[in-house]
Structure formats: C-alpha cells, structure tokens
C-alpha cells in the first residue's frame, strides 16, 4: 500500500506571507467597506446600533480570518468531520434551547452573539464533503455505497434547518453539498434523474410547506396578489431598485429605504438599498466585486495540489455564488423571498462569521497550496 505521507515541509513565515492572496484580502476589505456604508445608510445616516455592531463584527471576524488563515490546511482536513458534528449538535441545540424571533427558532444565545448554527452548517457541509470525496477513489464515486453516505449527511442538517423553519438556508446548504458531489465527478445521469424526481414531487413538496412559505411562492409568481401583505416586500424592493436608475438616487438619498418602505433593509434587502442609492452602475460594480471574489477562490483551488483543497475551494466558490445569486435574484423578484443574506454585505453575525471562516480556509489552502494530504 502506497501511502503518501503528509509533507510536513516547514514553510517559513516569509514564504507563508508571500503566498497570501492579497487580492482576495483586498476584495474582502472592499466589500466590507461598502457594507459599512450601506448599513450606515439603512440607519438614515446616523452612526448608531447596526453600524457600530457591524464594524465591530467585521473587524473581529476579519482578524479571526487573518489568524485562521495560517492554520494548516491539513488541520482543517483532520477536523472536517468534527466540524460537521459540532454543527449538527448546535443545530439540535437550537431545536431544544433556541431563541425565537418572528416565528422562527434559529439562534442560540451566546451572550456576545446570537449564533445561527445553520449559517455555520453551510461551511461545515462543504468541509465535510471535501474531506469525504478527497479520500474516495474516483472508481468508487459512482457506487451507491459511497453515494448514500453524503446524501444522508446532507439530509440531516437540511431537515433540521427546515424545522426552524428556514427554507432559504436549508436550500443553500443542500446546494453547496450537491455542488461538491457534482465536482467530485458523480455521473451526470444522477443529477438529471434526481432533477426530474424533484420536478415530479414538487406539488407534494409544496403541499407540506408552511402557509407563509406557500404564500411567498405564490406571491413570487404574482406579487400583486397581495400588494400590502406577502407581495409587499417584492413590490417595494423592485420599486426601490427600479427608481434608482443608472446612477442611483445618491448616497443616503434612497427614499424607499429612508422612508421605511423597505423591509429588512439591513439584512436580506441590503442590496436593494445599495442599488437604489448607487443605481445600475453601483450594482454592476458590486456584482463585479463578487465575481472577482469567486474567481479568486476558484483560482486558489486551481493552484492547490490536494483534492481536499480543490474540492473545498470550488465548493465554497459555488456556495458564495449561490448566496449572492439567490439573494440578488430574490430582491430583484426573480426568485421567491427566502431568507438568504448577501455575503459580507448583510448585517448578521453568524453569516459573517461563517463566510470569514470559509474564506480563512480558502486562504489556508492558498498558503499551504503545496501541501499534500494523505488519505487515512
């Protein structure tokens, strides 16, 4: 049996600093700064609660990101399953001790932060799957034995998150997991078959949805069905974005958000506010920053040697893409309203924490990109 040993080659600190992806850091800082301005605007141009909190969180989590970036990628690999299990335990804890807000039980009170474990689970699933597929031989990937395990690993957290209820995060977790299964090379026919199966079972799935979820989906297809109720958010969001025009209404001049027509403007609808104030131009620039971020993450995967790092980076890039796409498509009225924050931009500790955590693993993949990880 040929065993590849971990090349515990000793990188010097300078080497490590050299291999840091500075563009990635710059992108994070850029999006982070934009988010501070956007959140400042949601408060009507007052430096108060949300802005302060967001800045504190950004700096704390950014520092955390920098520190964790120097953790060996093999360490992440070793603890991948542990990460997943901790996430699962936290999700179960939420089910029992969670605190509720607006009809959903999603958080654990950690005193300094209300932790939303489902956000961490988004990352945990990716690491877990990256490790899982890292060690599987490509010949084994197509076998049912090795397919059934990740499916179970995916269904458990998704089910727990749906129970909270949080359809959006659950879909994002599932999406990230499926993305890795796809990357690992599972035969396309499985995806086609399961896609058809989902289509067929969609009517049944809808029938077991909660009434508010149903109404959101119905409203998505026709927002004018209930313009002051379920359709209100979509309509107001479209009005805000549309009225922004090419150059936007100007910073701190977004009437829709300033006059409180926009719901949840500092969380899920932060893009709406940004787009109203900075217009088409600003929106495209922000979108471009996200594309660059995704590109940089993919790039790290490409230069990494280990499958774990590759799978993780590609998977995480896809996850980021999914978060951005689902959020923006949602506020543009292209997708039903499901709770999905915009990475880094949206106010929310857990989401920011999980993104930073995910990014730090990416960075560690970059720093230790030559590291080979043995299978054991």
């Amino acid at each position: 049996m040929l065993r590849e040993r971990i090349q515990a080659s000793n990188y010097s600190f300078l080497d490590k600093l050299k291999s840091v992806d500075y563009l990635l850091i710059l992108l994070i800082i850029a999006i982070g700064s934009i988010s501070v301005f956007a959140i400042y605007s949601t408060e009507g141009g007052k430096f108060s609660f949300y802005t302060k909190n967001h800045i504190i969180r950004l700096s704390v989590f950014f520092s955390l990101f920098l520190v964790l970036s120097f953790v060996r990628v093999s360490t992440w690999y070793k603890n991948a399953y542990l990460f997943y299990i901790v996430g699962l335990i936290l999700l179960i804890t939420v089910l029992i001790f969670g605190i509720s807000a607006s009809g959903a039980t999603r958080w654990i009170n950690l005193y300094f932060l209300n932790l939303q474990p489902s956000e961490l689970m988004k990352i945990a699933v990716i690491i877990c799957f990256a490790r899982y597929y890292h060690r599987i031989q490509s010949s084994d990937i197509q076998s049912y034995k090795f397919l059934i395990q990740p499916i179970i690993l995916l269904i458990i957290p998704c089910y727990l998150v749906i129970q909270q209820p949080d359809l959006g995060t659950s879909i994002l977790i599932a999406g990230s997991g499926i993305a890795i299964i796809w990357l690992a090379g599972l035969n396309i026919k499985y995806f086609v078959y399961s896609g058809l199966l989902i289509l067929v079972s969609l009517p049944f799935a809808i029938s077991i949805l909660k009434p508010y979820q149903k109404s959101r989906i119905l409203t998505f297809f026709n927002p004018d069905r209930d313009p002051l109720g379920a359709g209100y958010q979509i309509i107001q969001s479209k009005i805000a974005i549309g009225s922004g025009g090419f150059f936007g209404k100007g910073y701190l001049k977004g009437t829709q958000s300033y006059l409180e027509f926009l719901p949840e403007k500092h969380t899920d609808f932060i893009f709406t506010l940004f787009s109203e104030e900075f217009g088409f131009l600003g929106s495209i620039i922000l979108l471009f920053l996200y594309i660059l971020l995704i590109y940089r993450i993919i790039n790290v995967g490409l230069v990494s040697r280990s499958f774990f790092a590759k799978l993780y980076c590609f998977g995480f890039a896809t996850a980021i893409f999914l978060y951005v796409f689902v959020n923006i498509a949602m506020v543009l009225g292209m997708l039903p309203i499901v709770g999905a924050p915009l990475p880094i931009m949206s106010y929310g500790g857990s989401s920011l924490l999980s993104i930073m955590l995910g990014l730090s693993i990416v960075m560690s993949c970059k720093i230790y990109n030559q590291e080979q990880i043995s299978v054991y």
Partner: protein, 649 residues
C-alpha cells in the same frame, strides 16, 4: 503508479466539473445583470413614478371663498376668523382616549361624540378629522391649555363664511353649508372640492359657485411607509375665489326689510333703464350665519314651521294674482289694439247693479260705485267695471301678448335663483293645452282686473312697471353687477332705437320678440297715457294712493294699487263688508303696489306686496312711498359709483 494515474484523472474531473459550474455561474450572473438593466434603465420611469407615489402624499388646503359686495362695495358676505379643532389621525395612538379627553374639555354631548366616530369611519388613516369648525374662544383656549395631553389634536385658526347683514340679505345672497353628495357631483365643485369645504346652498352663493369657490392649495409632504409626514416638499398656495359684485344697495335693502318687518311680503326695486335690482327684500327672513356650521334642530324647526314661510323667497318664488296692479297693462293693451276710445264712458253703479255677463255678476270693489268713468279715471280710481268691459272687448289673447311682452309670466333672473317661478299669463291656447278646456269669456273679464288664472311674482310686477315707466323699452334686469350696462349706454341705445323708428317694419301688435333696449309699444302716446293715469292715481284727489303721495317733485312718484283676492268673495262677505282686521288672516286680501319715481324723468320702479295685508292703498302704498324717498335720496351716490367714481365707497 496506478493510484497516481487515478489521482490525476480525479483532479481533471474536478477541474472540468468546476469549469462547467463556472459557465453556469456566468450565465446566471448575466441573467441578474439583464434584470438589473430592465429594472433600472428600461423601466426606470415606471418605478420612479411608483416611488414618488409611495413617498409623496398630498394634502389639499381649502381656499377662501370669494367675497360678495353690494353696489357700493360694502361687504355682504365675508370670511370670518373661526377657531377649529382638528385631529391628525395618524398621530393619535388611542382614538377613544383622545376623544374622551376632548369630550371633557370642550363639553361634547353623546350625540356629537357619536358623530365624531361616524366621521372617522369615512376618513383615511392619515386624514384630518375636524372635531369642531366653530369653537368658542373659551373652548379654544381650554384646548390650548391641555394641548400637551392631546396627541394629534391641532387647534386651528381658520376662516368661515360670515354674513354681516345676517337677516337682511339671505334671500338675495343665500348661504353656505356642508356639501352634499349631490353638490360634489357638480363640475365646478368637483374640480375644487376639499373635504370640509362649505359650498353655496342657495342664491348667489349657489349660482355663482364657480366664481366664488376659488382653487384649493396643495401641500405635498414626504411620508414614510406608515404615512407619517416627514417633511413638506411643496406648497401650491390656495387661491381665493373671485369677488362677486351685486347691484343691490344694502342700505335700501336693509330699509326694505325693516319696512316689511312683522309681515309676510316682498319689496323689489329696480333701475328702470339699466335693469339693476336695487333691493329685493322678502319677509320674514332668517339668519344665514346659522347654516354655516350646520343649523341646530330647534332653529331649523322654528324657521320651517313659521306660518309666514321665511324659506320662500317671495320676490321671485311667491306667486300672486296681480290684482289691480295689472290694470295699466290691460289699459295699455286695449289702447294699443284700439279696442277702446279712452274717452268712452262707462257707468259704475256699485254693488246693487253689478256688471253682468251671461247671467253672472261681476262687482266693483267700491260698494257705492264710481259713477261715470272714462279710461284715465278708471285707472286712477281703479274702477273694476270699466276694466271688465274693456277686457271683454279686448280678449284674453291680445292681452296676454302685451302682458308677456312687459315681463309677466316669465322668469326674470334666469338661472341665478333655482326657485324662481315663471308665473302664468293665461290665454286660450294655454288653457286648451294645460287644462284641456276652452276659454270662458267670464275668465277674460276677471283677468281684466288681474284675477283668475294670472299669477305673477313681485319682481315681474316691478319689471313690468319699470318697462312702462322707461317709455316702453325692454331692459335686462340683473342682480350681478354688469359693467357693460350703464345708464348712458342704455339711454343712447334707446335714442338710437327711436331714431330708427321708420325702419321698424314690424307689427308691434303681433306676438313678436323684442330685443333689449328696443321699444315694445305700438304707439308711444298709449304709454304716455298710462303713465299719466298712474300719476293721477297717486297725485290727484280720489286716486287710490293719493295719501302716500309726495308733493315735492324730487320724490313725486306715480303708481298703481292692487288688492288681490285669495278666495272668492261671496254675497255674504259683501253684505258683512268687514274690515281687514276682522277677517281671518289666511283669508285676507294681499295688498299690492307698483310705482315708479320720480314722476318727471323717472329712474326707479318698485313693487310691494304684503301678504294678507288688506288693501293695497292702505298696506302697500305707504311702504313704497317711504322706500322711494330713501332710494331717491341715495340716487346721486349711486350715480357717482356707477360712473366710476368709487372713492365714495
């Protein structure tokens, strides 16, 4: 080595799959970008409008109503300062609590509180509820004192209609009140309406609504999602309604009302050339100020149940048989058609030997009879027998042509008063059409003394008198000042008409239409004959209004009395021969009087009617006499104003 090869293969799969995913991502991002393009560039305008609709809300501010002034620019209807209490509904947390507090502070009763709740139901959550539009100073200061406890309450200084001459003008100017749903449907009100705006309910206020109402202002506020006002963006100032000038002289009007006090009746006075109505009094009257803020039940009942019917504008909506005031027209018609030689003598033999036609007896009002009468004397002493015979000879159809031409039987002021009556000048055709009966000669006979079917309004009688007094020219009566009609112009037009005399090819004995300021007579001498007879009636002994005469030529006037029966006089009545006071009020005769003054170079015509006042010479002529003096005293002033010398106002 095998492992290594497999690993390379695995790496390739992963990378290939990543690129497929990346392509999908690019596509989806392109989708987002095109959606953004659609929303922000293609449909921008649509969303901008929606956004403005969201954030901008308009509040209409009520305009001040135009004022109404008399001929001398004295204000007849103004806007007075009032104290109001408004509630801004979106600033109130608990409506019940606020209403309870207000109820205690200004002392509302249960009924008024219920009214508030009903009002609130009709309003939108960001509307303003007017709790009271007319607080006393005491209530207003109390509200201000407790204002800190009353969130959403707003004491407001506003204006409301005020009629300084309260009772004296209500039948002319009218009054305002809350708009009814039917009022709001009218275009002139619909265009300018603001909730709470008072609109004209009667008279000038109603018919001149278009001028008076003004244009509302608009206050645009930026509001937030819950409708709370954030800032004022725009204020288009409201525009006060236009001033309406009347031809009324408030001094004359006041005096006329004073003369009528305690009676049911009317006095109308008119310039016989310009047609300007100087006074149009109706009695009894009521206070229009009571209607502005909604009249209370007790006051309303009092007005409604008054047997003298204050709500009827008697000058234009009261219909009366003209009685003997019709005689000048009968005489004129008979002369014009050559029916009678003015020197023809008829003997009035009193009640013992009445006029008889087909076995029916027609009596003269004078028991003893007038003796031998010629036409002039018959007018002067108002001998009924002479007129019975003359009417019989003339025929009702010819009479009706002349009567209508001089203004009887048609509405005088057009659309200004919606309750103005046409009256009725009967003829054979009318009776056939309306009653489907043929005309009886006996009806012609009583028509000759202004009884029977004939019905006229006091203003029509005034117009009739004016058009005889001005020499038989058609004038345009009006109550809203028309600067295009001046005395000089009218005189010039009349002179022009006279100089065109040979050009008139028309037969004035036919039923023809006459234009304004053109002659209506066939022979001028006939008009002069009638005027002279009316002079006799007032200024010569045995004339029916001899006692009311002035000898001073400045005030000297000529007129004709009338006593119109409200029921058939039976033989028993004639035997009893009761005084007016002895008869039940409702059965007493109406007293009428028409006159023009001064006799030489006349300028004004006047008509007086006292309902159930008894005889015209006793009840009506003295009032006319008093008023004529006042009108003539003020004539010079009026002329100065009308010639553009307004400094006197």
């Amino acid at each position: 080595m095998l492992n290594r090869g497999r690993n390379i293969e695995k790496g390739r799969v992963i990378t290939r799959r990543m690129f497929i995913l990346a392509a999908a991502k690019v596509l989806l991002f392109a989708g987002i970008s095109s959606r953004l393009y659609n929303l922000q560039i293609s449909d921008r305008e649509k969303y901008e409008i929606l956004s403005d609709k969201n954030r901008i809300r308009e509040w209409k501010t009520p305009p001040q109503r135009g004022i109404i002034v008399d001929n001398f620019n004295k204000v007849l209807a103004s806007n007075d300062r009032v104290f109001q209490l408004h509630l801004i509904l979106d600033e109130i947390k608990d409506f019940d609590v606020t209403v309870f507090k207000i109820k205690n502070i200004i002392g509302l009763d249960k009924f008024e509180v219920n009214k508030l709740y009903k009002k609130k139901e009709r309003l939108k959550p960001w509307d303003t509820l007017v709790v009271s539009d007319n607080l006393t100073w005491e209530q207003f200061s109390k509200i201000n004192l407790y204002l800190h406890e009353l969130e959403g309450a707003k004491p407001v200084l506003s204006t409301s209609r005020f009629y300084p001459y309260s009772n004296d003008l209500v039948h002319v100017v009218g009054y305002v009140g809350d708009a009814s749903p039917r009022d709001i449907e009218k275009p002139e009100i619909k265009e300018n309406f603001v909730p709470g705006l008072k609109v004209g309910k009667y008279g000038i206020e109603k018919s001149q609504e278009k001028s008076l109402i003004g244009n509302y202002g608009i206050k645009r506020y930026e509001v937030n999602a819950s409708g709370k006002r954030i800032s004022q963006i725009d204020y288009i100032k409201e525009k006060q309604g236009n001033q309406v000038n009347l031809t009324i002289d408030i001094e004359i009007q006041k005096y006329a009302q004073e003369l009528l006090k305690g009676t049911a009746g009317s006095i109308s006075a008119m310039d016989i050339y310009t047609g300007e109505i100087v006074a149009m009094a109706s009695s009894p009257t009521y206070d229009p100020n009571k209607f502005t803020h909604g009249i209370n039940q007790k006051d309303w009942q009092e007005i409604r149940d008054n047997p003298l019917k204050p709500l009827i504008n008697k000058s234009i909506a009261g219909l009366y048989s003209p009685g003997s005031t019709f005689k000048p027209i009968v005489a004129l018609a008979a002369l014009e058609y050559g029916t009678i030689d003015p020197n023809k003598t008829i003997r009035c033999k009193g009640h013992k030997h009445p006029y008889e036609l087909y076995g029916i007896k027609y009596h003269c009002w004078k028991k003893e009879g007038h003796g031998y009468m010629k036409l002039r004397n018959a007018i002067k002493q108002s001998c009924d027998i002479y007129f019975y015979e003359m009417a019989r000879l003339l025929g009702v159809d010819k009479l009706s042509i002349i009567a209508k031409r001089y203004g009887l039987g048609t509405n005088v002021l057009g659309e200004i008063y919606n309750d103005e009556k046409n009256g009725l000048v009967p003829n054979t055709k009318w009776k056939r059409n309306a009653l489907e009966q043929s005309w009886y000669l006996g009806e012609t006979v009583i028509n000759g003394i202004g009884q029977g079917y004939i019905q006229t309004t006091p203003l029509q009688l005034c117009l009739m008198t004016a058009q005889i007094a001005n020499g038989g020219y058609k004038i345009k009566p009006h109550i809203i000042k028309d600067n295009s009609i001046s005395y000089k112009d009218v005189i010039n037009k009349i002179k022009l008409d006279q100089s065109n005399f040979p050009l008139h090819e028309r037969n004035y004995l036919d039923d023809i239409n006459v234009e304004y300021y053109q002659r209506m007579y066939h022979k001028k001498s006939n008009i002069n004959f009638v005027l002279d007879a009316m002079y006799g009636s007032t200024n010569e002994q045995y004339g029916t209004s001899f006692k009311s005469r002035y000898d001073d030529p400045k005030y000297q006037f000529a007129g004709k009395t009338g006593t119109s029966q409200v029921r058939r006089i039976t033989d028993l009545d004639r035997e009893l021969d009761l005084d007016t006071e002895q008869i039940e009020y409702k059965k007493r005769d109406h007293a009428l009087y028409v006159a023009f003054a001064p006799y030489k170079d006349p300028r004004y015509a006047i008509s007086v009617i006292i309902e159930h006042g008894g005889s015209g010479s006793k009840a009506a002529a003295p009032l006319a006499s008093k008023l004529i003096k006042r009108i003539i005293d003020r004539h010079k002033l009026r002329e100065q104003i009308n010639n553009g010398n307004t400094s006197l106002a």
